[in-house]
């Protein structure tokens, strides 16, 4: 499969601060790639370098055959993390304007805008001003504005942030639709569940470095399966069960604990359960759980994806700038 995007040893430094370090990965044409990492991990800096909004300190970028995103900007659609549109414009005018900047004639842009707004259930808001739309509606309009020119490559920076669950589902459908129509989609997020449901491939980023590149299944495989045990049980006793490599107390209330017992690579879990019952442990509920992408992220990076690294890293970056 041909790569729509290739990054090779990409680095970005702001003064003394290293925002992105030796980042290399590929995104194949027509696939959905999740670019995952906590806030402040370097995702936005990478995206800006891909788009040509900022130059890389070192490394190579190849996007749609060009070495600079600016050279193929008409073939790229971009939804930034911080979103906004002209408050006094109508959705149709705003979408047509951004489409025109990407080479879509204004008349055609307006036609497409009306069509896409209808599809997204915003038909009745077409002639309202942007300032009169709800946040969810405005975000949909901005997404439409970023893809109205039918781009070959779509970059969405934290597209799910600020959306309610219903709109998040709608956005997932839009992303699938884009890929189904042949577009390559790279979206960044720190919420692993979206990536789990959508992505053909994920790239995990932590503290400016790539921690993993591969499919969701491959990512999960890097993390152990685990037994979830609930009862009046002692963590040390669980740790001694066969196949268990580590124990973590997930919850505790009124003497009843929920323990997560990580299993070794070849452990099936049955031996551990059998030993627990034979050993007389007061297990009231048990569950054998496959690792999630969230678990994989923690296993791979040692960081929690919901931990905001912005406070530490971005503040350093701005200070360095």
């Amino acid at each position: 499969m041909t790569a729509a995007l290739t990054l090779e040893a990409l680095s970005k430094r702001y003064g003394d601060f290293q925002a992105v370090r030796d980042l290399s990965f590929q995104v194949e044409q027509g696939t959905i790639c999740g670019f995952l990492g906590p806030n402040g991990a370097g995702k936005t800096s990478t995206i800006r370098m891909i788009l040509g909004l900022q130059s890389a300190t070192s490394g190579q970028i190849d996007i749609l055959g060009a070495d600079d995103g600016r050279k193929v900007r008409d073939r790229i659609g971009f939804l930034p993390e911080e979103r906004g549109l002209y408050k006094k414009m109508t959705p149709v005018d705003a979408i047509a304007f951004f489409g025109s900047l990407k080479g879509v004639p204004t008349g055609e842009g307006r036609r497409r805008a009306r069509e896409m707004l209808d599809t997204q259930g915003l038909g009745e808001s077409k002639s309202k001003k942007m300032k009169d739309l709800s946040k969810g509606m405005a975000q949909k309009v901005q997404l439409i504005a970023s893809v109205v020119h039918r781009p070959e490559f779509v970059i969405l920076d934290e597209p799910f942030s600020g959306l309610d669950p219903v709109n998040q589902q709608g956005l997932e459908a839009v992303i699938r639709g884009l890929a189904a129509n042949g577009a390559t989609v790279l979206f960044s997020t720190h919420v692993m569940q979206h990536a789990e449901r959508l992505c053909d491939k994920v790239v995990l980023l932590a503290r400016g470095r790539k921690a993993f590149e591969g499919t969701v299944t491959e990512a999960r495989a890097t993390s152990p399966r685990f037994l979830e045990l609930e009862g009046v049980i002692d963590a040390e006793a669980v740790a001694k069960l066969p196949g268990v490599t580590g124990v973590e107390v997930a919850a505790e209330a009124d003497g009843v604990r929920t323990l997560k017992a990580a299993l070794g690579p070849r452990a099936g879990g049955q031996e551990a359960l059998k030993a627990a019952f034979l050993g007389g442990l007061d297990v009231r509920r048990f569950d054998l759980r496959e690792p999630s992408l969230h678990d994989a992220f923690i296993a791979l990076t040692g960081d929690h994806p919901d931990t905001d690294q912005t406070a530490t890293r971005a503040a350093d970056a701005e200070a360095a700038r």
Binding site: R48, L53, F78, L85, S100, L101
Partner: protein
Amino acid sequence: MNRVLLIARREYLAYARTVGFWLSLLAFPLFAVLGGGFSVLVRHAEPVRSIALIQEAGAGPAAGSLAAIVRESIAAEQARGDVSALRRAAIPEAGVAAGDRVRKVAEAEGYDAGLAALKTEAPHAGAGFKRPKQALRVVAAPPAIASAPAGPARDDVIRRYLTDKTPVEGAPLSGVVILSERGGEPAARLWLARASDARVEDAIRDALSDANRRAVFSAAGIDPQVVAATDAWRPDVSVFSPRSATGGEVSFRDRLPGAIGFAFGFLLWSLIITGASILLNSVMEEKANKILEVLLSSASATELLTGKVLGVAMLTLSVLVVWAVLGGVGLATGLPDMARDVASVLLSGGLLVYFLLYMIGGYLMYAVLFAAIGAFCETPRDAQTLMGPIMMVLVVPILVMQMALQNPDAPVVRILSWIPFFTPFLMSARVPSDPPMTEIIGTLFGMFATALLMVWLAGRAFRAGALSDVKLSWKAFARAIRGGGE
């Protein structure tokens, strides 16, 4: 349509479609008309004040009755007003020399002869001339006041007349003047219907000064008529200059360039600051609404900056064209001859081209600077850090331009004209007065070189600011320029 034009069009329409834009567009000419009209209205609406004169028994300078002198003095003041109005009316149409000729006739032969002279010298002005309204009218004191014994009793009668507004010769009294002599010098007590009416007081002070002068000269053996004639005399001065339009006598048209230059300099200052401020607010709005990053993914920073600068330039130009058309039509209708002179000044010596060049250079310098500042700001408070010092510097050309109106070649004006940030305003004020070509070319070169440098520097700062969250300061601004957006 390319991106620059698309951005320019959006920028233009975003403002041109607002009610506020049209209000501000029409506000200037409207207020100019209202301001002018209001002062005329006030002048015309001012009532003729009726005053009664009472002379205390025994008072009066040796030259004659003090009341008669005051009456004469008020009449003479009215006549001087007529003469001055006749002269002023003649100048725009027929020039300063013609105005002086009309003045002489009016002084020597009276108002009617002066009006006839005006009609000869300046037919348009003469046909439409209206005699200035009489400010003061001296009426005979009502018998009740005149016959009342001096002192509190008479004051009571006067007070009643002024309070009741009892008509005297068809109008209520504005004041009663009791003339007297204290220590051999003319004096007066004024009773006024309105305590704040300074007009009557001023007129009486002038009249008493006149009376005193006559008395003093008379005591020195000088005929009062000689004194009056000496006071009324005006020198007949003709001004010639090789740089006048005719190469000889200086006319009103020759004095127009200075005024036009000042007007253009001021207009340019207003338009440039307005345009640059619109740009600052526009970029600030895009920054605050998180639109800049999307725009930068769709167009280069240069295209974006150029488009925005162009859009606001078109907006500013629209304002200028509307003002010029309104002003031109107004002038051509009201003062056709002055309009002809203004047009001839503007069309001579490539003046309009110079104005256009100074406008382009000035606008470029300030517009890109303000846009770059806007890229770092989300609120006007953010922008204050940098805007404060800039606005303080911008006051300088306004002050110096007033100096240029009097003396466009004053050393300080010439020196400051070479500072590129002042060049557009000061040279616009100076260029109608025909400064040396070396100064015109030199300052234009300096201004455009600076404008290009500003475009380059501001472009770097704009790119950096658009994607940055740093708090704006001169240090951050300088660092952004050095870093060029990185």
